[in-house]
Symmetry: C2
Subunit: 202 residues, 2 copies
Amino acid sequence: MGRTSDAKEKILTAAHSLIEQRGYSALGVAEICKTAGVPKGSFYYFFESKEALALAVIDEHWAAEQRGWNRILGSDAEPLERLRRLFEATEASQRAGQESCGAISGCLFGNLSLEMSNQTEAIRERLQEIFEAQAEMVAKVIAEAQERGEVNVPDTRAAAQSVVAQLEGQVLFAKLYNNTSPLGTLWGNCLALLGATVPARV
Amino acid sequence: MGRTSDAKEKILTAAHSLIEQRGYSALGVAEICKTAGVPKGSFYYFFESKEALALAVIDEHWAAEQRGWNRILGSDAEPLERLRRLFEATEASQRAGQESCGAISGCLFGNLSLEMSNQTEAIRERLQEIFEAQAEMVAKVIAEAQERGEVNVPDTRAAAQSVVAQLEGQVLFAKLYNNTSPLGTLWGNCLALLGATVPARV
């Protein structure tokens, strides 16, 4: 039992790293197993298809990211300060990835949304659920800031989606330029998008 | 000569459509030639590799898109009105794609940035040039609006990149949800990002 769990974990870890580096389509099961150091037969013992593995990678990545988002956005800090910390954590995480593998890999969910949305409905639906959960989490904080009169938006949910869209767009540029500096704009742009009463910078 | 030019055009058209639908990695030269209805030997007569073909597809797509952007952003309309028309044209183009093939394919350059940035330097550099050209075009219009006192940003180039980032992020959601409605937020968000003196909406 110890050995089989270990093989499953090795496959997930290898697939996570390969999908972050090169996307989903470019990978084959044989390469994933070779990187994981497990025989190909093991793969189909744990996963019925490459798509099932991708869904498991997405779920594992979101479970970890969601814990981070909950810790930051559910803290006792003031609402706008929590949003600022979320952007700082995003920048720190992309910088850590760049330092460990030489290239910014971007957001796994954004990458797969653009690569896979139109190809597998199961992956599209899972990614929709994740981005909806992200927008809900951000919307809750925006609603708190709105109650305190610190921001001014007609629709907290739409505003949250715009904040996440700005984040995904700047992460795209960070990946394209292999440079975290576009992420330095996120806080000022968030304040501007929310009509914050503190001075906004672009 | 007529026949060979025709074969090249057929390969480019097939590759453009396949890359929009399924990305770059998922495609093989054999499939591109089959879709184009040309023998595989023709391919290597015109293109030395799949990467060379992808660069040609990117160049052709940008040449057409740049003409559209120049027409809109270089018009006689007031500067902010030109930006509004750019977002309307983006939305119309994504809607037309959805009507013709059933799915929103998103922005070819954004798709390839997330799929290919870390895999081929030639494609990464070409995409960087295109996004820099887009930001320059938008920055010029923002500078005009700033001179007229209609917007208030400390750095027109950074503001332009944020406007394009917002666009790419909302196009990502339009593709993920196969729904153009996220694009309806672009104009209000642009005004907010630019600190426009007209009331901004998120």
